[in-house]
């Protein structure tokens, strides 16, 4: 809830500080509707990855490979369409399948062999990006996609950027999965205690596998949207996105130790980061320092630490109070 306040404060601040009237008398900057739509468009891919990671992190897992998988799926999508001569919808479906397959590889290693997710996905992080580079030999870039496809990434539909609808659909889907289905409950149970969940009769492995496969699938969808937004598929697509996505999820209050978390929190986290980044870029002070990008990095890091600290301090205090309170009571009896 605190994050919602932070987000509103942040937004108001930039609305007043980052909006100006230019020489021609036109209102420009953060307060314009165009900018708000841009923020939405630019955060769709990272937002999708953050949604993909939310169930994974709730099960006390992590997936570092989503950014690389995005790159691999973008390349495969381009290859199916351009080299394979397949129509866009079929190429996209195949790419989604490949994303699910990549997620399944993670899932298989994590569940069947009981390997730590951090290390498995660190390996696939290199592997997927490496495959994308190997397939294109680094050089091939797929471009000249048809207008109808680029529409998804660049135009508006029913008043909003077209990809935002896809993003919202996925957000609702993941929200239902996590908060309105037994799956979500079992994700949390697994995150709290996998052993306990197993004794309670939950198919732990199957549910963990589902979380990773879903993450792969959503990463592939993000790849398609990314390709449509830029009009190109290249092996470096999505480099470093996993870190922003993880930041957004954790900022949104999902515990990295698992067991706790919410989809709305993740959405707020994505919004907080995107607004910060875009807002800083429209502050005259920051613009004069040529430092929007760096400053948003520093502030995002600080914000993350702040959010975490704010989250644990009450618990630490109450623990301390409990300990102090316990001392006098025990004294007389001893």
């Amino acid at each position: 809830m605190l994050l919602l306040y932070v987000l509103i404060a942040e937004w108001l601040f930039f609305y007043f500080a980052g909006t100006t009237v230019n020489r021609r008398g036109v209102t420009v900057g953060f307060g314009t509707l165009d900018r708000q739509f841009d923020i939405l468009r630019h955060s769709c891919e990272i937002g999708l990855l953050a949604l993909a990671l939310t169930p994974v992190i709730i099960t006390a897992g992590i997936d570092l490979s989503v950014g690389s998988l995005l790159g691999l799926c973008a390349i495969l999508f381009g290859k199916f369409w351009h080299d394979g001569g397949l129509p866009i919808p079929i190429a996209a479906t195949l790419a989604l399948g490949c994303g699910a397959l990549g997620g399944a590889l993670n899932a298989a290693l994590i569940t069947a062999l009981r390997l730590p997710p951090l290390i498995v996905t660190l390996g696939t992080y290199s592997l997927f990006r490496g495959l994308a580079e190997a397939i294109t030999r680094g050089s091939v870039t797929y471009t000249n996609f048809p207008e109808g496809f680029l529409f998804i990434g660049q135009e508006r539909w029913l008043g909003l950027p077209a990809q935002a609808w896809l993003f919202f659909a996925v957000a609702i889907g993941v929200w239902v999965l996590v908060h309105r289905m037994t799956f979500g409950r079992s994700f949390r149970a697994i995150g709290f205690s996998p052993e306990g969940a197993r004794y309670a009769g939950l198919p732990v492995d199957r549910h963990i596998a589902l979380a990773y496969i879903l993450a792969g699938l959503i990463a592939a969808l993000a790849a398609i949207i990314y390709t449509a937004r830029l009009g190109q598929a290249k092996a470096d697509a999505g480099t470093g996105y996993e870190l922003f996505a993880i930041t957004a999820v954790v900022l949104g209050g999902t515990s990295i130790f698992g067991g706790r978390g919410s989809v709305t929190g993740t959405l707020l986290g994505v919004a907080a980061i995107a607004v910060l980044k875009s807002g800083l870029a429209s502050l005259p002070v920051v613009m004069r320092m040529n430092a929007a990008e760096e400053m948003s990095g520093v502030l995002t890091g600080a914000l993350l630490l702040l959010a975490l600290t704010a989250g644990v301090l009450p618990r630490l205090w109450s623990q301390r109070r409990a300990r102090h309170a316990a001392v006098p009571k025990t004294l007389p009896t001893s």
Binding site: Y5, A9, R23, V28, G231
Partner: protein, 329 residues
């Protein structure tokens, strides 16, 4: 909870009022936005120096921002931010031709003048391209220089930035074409990426030399790669036996050129490139530069030839022992 909300609202209001102090008064100056491929790169920092000089002379406000790593998606986001900021001119070094063009077309539709420099976008997405040297010119200059040093015979290797950088692929293509066409006795034995890291370039160059005992020359086509390769050659004690050439800045290579490790560093005057770009952009916005112009006069640098929609900076320049001390960038 209620008190928290009240405190919060009070804080937000104070913030909003305070933020008025941050907001600039409407600027009466023309605003030119200058986008590099990656802003930490010394190459673009030296371009920026020239751009700042031009901005001061012309009395315009200069915005300089870019990705901290070469990242096509971030370039688009920055351009789109600038569109909503209502800048007057956008000057872009495109990381990826097709990728950036969608954003630039949008800028043009919003009435913003667009020029490109260093690396071009699609022709319909900008008015002019300030052309420092064609990829063909760069490729030929490098390959010819390599051939001159080796007398047209022997093994050489290349260090590139990353395997995915578009301009690197373009240069490499022209280098290989020139090699095939003119120097049949020379052989390209290895191409390795250094991720724009000097330390990695050094490790790669070391491995290349031990793997290819007949290696005569290393050509590095990204600016951190040249000093990296030179350091490797120096440490291997092969100064003079393995020659180093490449695309780079005088300041980063000066000591190696003086020590005789690096023979030639090829580059154009990057400061002039920035200077010319800003002049062209401003002239375009003021209506002084129109499509079809045959020449263009840029402040203290004098007149430049315009070929079609390309403003030509001139030929790449070769820095060597004799002249490198005359340049400081």
């Amino acid at each position: 909870m209620k008190s928290l909300l009240r405190t919060f609202l009070a804080a937000a209001l104070t913030l909003s009022v305070a933020s008025g102090a941050f907001a600039a008064a409407a600027s009466s100056k023309l605003v030119v936005a200058f986008l590099p491929k990656s802003k930490g790169n010394a190459y673009f920092i030296s371009c920026k120096a020239g751009a700042e000089k031009a901005a001061k002379e012309l009395g315009v406000e200069l915005l300089f921002d870019g990705p901290t790593d070469s990242n096509a998606a971030k370039q688009n986001e920055i351009v789109e931010n600038w569109i909503t900021l209502g800048v007057d001119v956008i000057a872009v070094a495109a990381e990826n031709k097709e990728g950036i063009s969608t954003a630039l077309r949008k800028a043009q539709r919003a009435g913003i003048k667009v020029v490109t420099y260093d690396a071009d976008a699609m022709p319909d997405a900008r008015s002019f391209f300030v052309n420092q040297a064609t990829p063909e010119g760069i490729g030929h200059a490098l390959m010819d220089d390599a051939a001159r040093l080796l007398n047209g015979e022997g093994d050489f290797a290349m260090i590139v930035a990353t395997l995915t950088a578009a301009n690197q692929r373009e240069w490499q293509k022209h280098i290989e074409a020139r090699l095939k066409e003119k120097y049949p006795k020379m052989k390209l034995v290895a191409v390795r990426p250094c991720d724009d890291l000097k330390d990695k370039a050094q490790s790669e160059a070391t491995a290349m030399m031990s793997a290819n005992p007949n290696l005569k020359l290393i050509m590095a086509i990204c600016s951190p790669g040249v000093p990296g390769a030179a350091e490797a050659v120096k440490q291997a004690g092969k100064t003079g036996k393995v020659k180093v050439i490449g695309l780079g800045l005088p300041n980063e290579n000066r000591r190696y050129v003086h020590e005789g490790v690096t023979d030639t560093v090829i580059l154009w005057n990057t400061g002039d490139l920035g200077y010319l770009t800003i002049h062209a952009g401003v002239a375009l916005a003021k209506g002084d530069l129109k499509p079809g112009a045959k020449s263009f006069k840029a402040g203290s640098l004098g007149s430049f030839a315009v070929q079609g929609d390309n403003i030509l900076l001139g030929k790449p320049f070769a820095f060597n022992k004799g002249n490198i001390d005359q340049f400081n960038f």
